[in-house]
């Protein structure tokens, strides 16, 4: 954990993790059971398959009637349970557990779809690759209401400690190249911008694409700041880059697309950064759905009462309840934090010290905003105190002298307001 320096006058300098050489990748053997999380609420009545259904590696499983949500099985075996899973802020998912069988069989539906036409088609990408490692944002490619005119390929990792995308750039640049040309063909977007750290510029210039550099300190690699500083475009408060025609995709997702079409198989292993209690890092490759406990076993990590398991980075990730939480297509890091390293959260009020104001990249009056959030006055927070300008970097909580969970308040408020708006829209 990076602490405040003695000279507190300067802003904290949080440097992104960087990869000098290509580290070795630790492969985790296939687990006995994997769990796939689909980003849609569990709905037993409309399920399209049942327990005990046989699945093959790379097989697409459509979940519900009249819905195009699907997951892609990362193993061969049979479905052992289908249940509901609740994530941060009460968001609900459908969890599909698959018990692994002895012999692996590769599903060939994607292969026939991909080779059916001469060129890769948007339909194929959309119908098969949403669950590929890196979570390609396939839905954005074909959203009629929000046409995309620029695609930003992130070769850097947006949160601290993580080196997943950097690893892909080092190890699989051909797949990225291939993925980019497929993206161009299927989306018709020719404006592709790669963003990279200084040390990657050289490697990436070989791709022949436009490469732009981002600063090596957090939070420069967050999409909103890339928009502002690299593309020179301002995302209006509360809007996303895709609302103004820019789609972000990670280098890993691009490589997944490239590899899928090259091999005729949907990739099913996820690469991520494992950060152990002592802060040491390893790059790991595991099937999507592998429970974290199997990864800990492979690394001899023991967890004790009151430790913390984080999926994602230290600033923006989420902590999970269970050691068996599965690796997902967007799991770029798993961090294990010892109970003694977990910062306390206090119930102190804001003392108006102003430290958050100095670090906030969005110029938000957090000292005022937080008072409204604490009081649950979310509308006022949104209308008068720029709640929606927040780009979710978490720095305010990181520096808060009162140790308030400001970022948690902000996310909770956005989530609640979002829910209220959806309810209004459906009722009205």
């Amino acid at each position: 954990m990076i602490k405040r320096s003695f000279i507190g006058l300067s802003k904290p300098r949080l440097a992104y993790g960087s990869l000098e050489d290509t580290p070795s990748l630790k492969q985790i053997p296939t687990s006995k059971e994997v769990t796939l999380l689909a980003d849609c609420p569990f709905d037993k009545k409309n399920l399209l398959f049942k327990k005990k259904a046989a699945v093959k590696t790379g097989q697409r499983l459509l979940l519900y009637k009249e819905s195009d949500e699907y997951v892609v099985s990362s193993v061969t075996g049979e479905v052992s349970s289908i249940s509901s899973y609740t994530g941060d802020f009460g968001r609900s998912y459908t969890a599909i557990a698959i018990e692994v069988a002895g012999d692996e069989e590769i599903d060939d539906e994607f292969n026939s779809a991909a080779s059916g036409s001469k060129d890769a088609s948007l339909e194929t990408v959309k119908n098969y690759l949403a669950f590929a490692p890196g979570n390609p944002p396939v839905k954005l490619f074909s959203d009629k209401d929000k046409p995309i005119n620029t695609i930003v390929v992130c070769c850097v990792d947006s949160d601290l400690l993580i080196t997943t995308n950097q690893y892909i750039v080092k190890s699989d640049i051909d797949a990225i190249k291939n993925g980019i040309s497929i993206l161009k063909t299927v989306t018709g977007v020719n404006d592709i911008i790669m963003v990279a750290s200084q040390s990657q510029m050289h490697e990436l210039s070989a791709t022949g694409e436009k490469v732009n550099q981002v600063n090596d300190t957090y939070p420069s690699a967050l999409p909103h700041l890339i928009m502002k500083n690299v593309l020179g475009k301002m995302v209006p408060a509360g809007k996303t880059p895709e609302d103004i025609g820019v789609c972000f995709i990670s280098a890993e997702a691009v490589a997944s697309i490239g590899n899928a079409f090259k091999s005729g198989q949907i990739p099913v292993t996820k690469i991520f950064t494992l950060v152990k209690k002592d802060g040491s890092k390893s790059l790991v490759s595991a099937r999507i759905g592998t429970p974290a406990s199997d990864i800990f076993k492979a690394f001899n990590i023991t967890l004790n009462e009151n430790d913390r398991i984080i999926f994602g980075g230290p600033m923006t990730g989420s902590s999970v309840y269970s050691e068996d939480h599965p690796v997902q297509p967007d799991t770029d890091a798993i961090i294990v934090q010892d109970k003694d390293d977990i910062p306390v959260i206090s119930d102190y009020p804001c003392t108006n010290c102003g430290d958050c104001i100095r670090v906030c990249p969005a110029n938000i009056q957090i000292n005022l905003l937080v008072r409204f959030l604490e009081a649950g006055q979310y509308e006022a927070a949104a209308d008068q105190y720029d709640l929606y300008s927040c780009i979710e970097c978490g720095l305010c909580s990181y520096v808060c002298v009162s140790e308030m969970p400001i970022f948690q308040y902000i996310r909770a408020a956005k989530y609640e307001l979002g829910r209220a708006n959806t309810a209004e829209a459906t009722n009205g």
Partner: protein, 332 residues
């Protein structure tokens, strides 16, 4: 909502993990740490006061710090709020109040001061972070208005015998004009060869403490620097218009509560602005008002009232701020 939930997991494992929200790092800053550093920064000036005024100064300071803590404790008890004395804020308020008082301040005076500072200055507004005025300044102002003679440093400190002219420069200036303070050289003022509050005369010590706090990022330098700039510029203008009546910047900078005001009072977190331009306006305004009160007002020293006036308009000036990113101004 504010909790580190310890949640059961549904598996056979029995370990319970801490589930809370991002970020999972903190830079380690803390209110108590800030306050300890504040005390450390004040130490040179305090030790100097003790060296000059001896046990009487020790008495005033200890009484002030301890009663401030006790008032806070009592208030938290009565209102059933969680006990906050551990954060060191009450102790700092007591310490600063003691530093402003003359070493001869009677015990009831000190206790009344801390009562006003803690209860009226801070707690009735909701405690730390909610006070619109600097609690110490509130207390000193009320004490000055009620028992002004205690602050007559010349009168109060008459029994002390020093190797320098025991004169309160600002009083001399007010009553006898510029010629009366000619004898104060900048060096003597910085070395505390003047009369005044226990912890407010040792200019060098206060400056060193202030620089320490600025470097550590504990006080906002914009406020301190603009306050001092406000003092210099305003006193210079007065001085140029009528050098016989109005003293130059040296006296205004290094006498009275100027330095302790610049580094320890005006910078109080809750009652001062946090945005850049507002901080400059706030500091410069307080500096300007200080000299104005000293030169043409009724009071000998203007720091306390200047800070209180700026506290009052702080919420207004702090509205001048950069636009949040992505903010669209609607013309509806």
């Amino acid at each position: 909502m504010v909790d580190n939930n310890i949640a059961d997991n549904n598996t056979v494992n029995t370990n319970k993990f801490i589930v809370s929200h991002a970020p999972f790092w903190h830079d380690g800053s803390k209110i108590s740490l800030r306050n300890y550093n504040m005390a450390l920064a004040a130490l040179p000036a305090i030790l100097f006061g003790i060296y000059y005024y001896g046990m009487q100064a020790v008495g005033v300071l200890s009484l002030s710090i301890s009663t401030a803590i006790i008032w806070e404790f009592i208030f938290c008890r009565i209102t059933k709020r969680s006990n906050t004395i551990g954060d060191g804020n009450a102790a700092i308020i007591g310490m600063l109040l003691g530093m402003l008082l003359p070493a001869t301040a009677p015990w009831w005076f000190v206790i009344t001061g801390t009562f006003v500072a803690i209860i009226i200055g801070k707690q009735i507004f909701g405690g730390i972070g909610a006070n619109p005025f600097n609690p110490v300044a509130v207390a000193i102002a009320i004490l000055m208005l009620s028992w002004g003679n205690v602050f007559d440093f010349n009168e109060a400190l008459i029994n002390f015998d020093f190797d320098f002219a025991m004169v309160y420069p600002l009083a001399a200036l007010k009553h006898f004009g510029v010629s009366a303070v000619d004898s104060f050289s900048m060096g003597n003022l910085l070395m505390g060869k003047q009369s005044g509050g226990i912890g407010s005369t040792f200019g060098l010590g206060l400056i060193a403490g202030g620089i320490y706090l600025i470097i550590r990022g504990i006080i906002r330098w914009e406020i301190s620097i603009s306050f001092l700039a406000g003092i210099i510029i305003t006193s210079l203008i007065f001085n140029i218009t009528d050098p016989a009546r109005y003293a130059g910047p040296v006296i205004h900078l290094f006498a009275g509560y100027t330095l302790i005001g610049a580094f320890f009072l005006a910078t109080e977190d809750s009652s001062s602005p946090v945005n850049f331009i507002p901080m400059l306006i706030y500091g410069a305004g307080a500096g300007f008002l200080t000299v104005l009160i000293r030169n043409i007002g009724f009071y000998v020293d203007g720091v306390i009232f200047a800070i209180l006036i700026m506290n009052l308009i702080n919420p207004l000036i702090d509205k001048i701020r950069p636009k949040a990113i992505g903010k669209v101004v609607e013309n509806a």
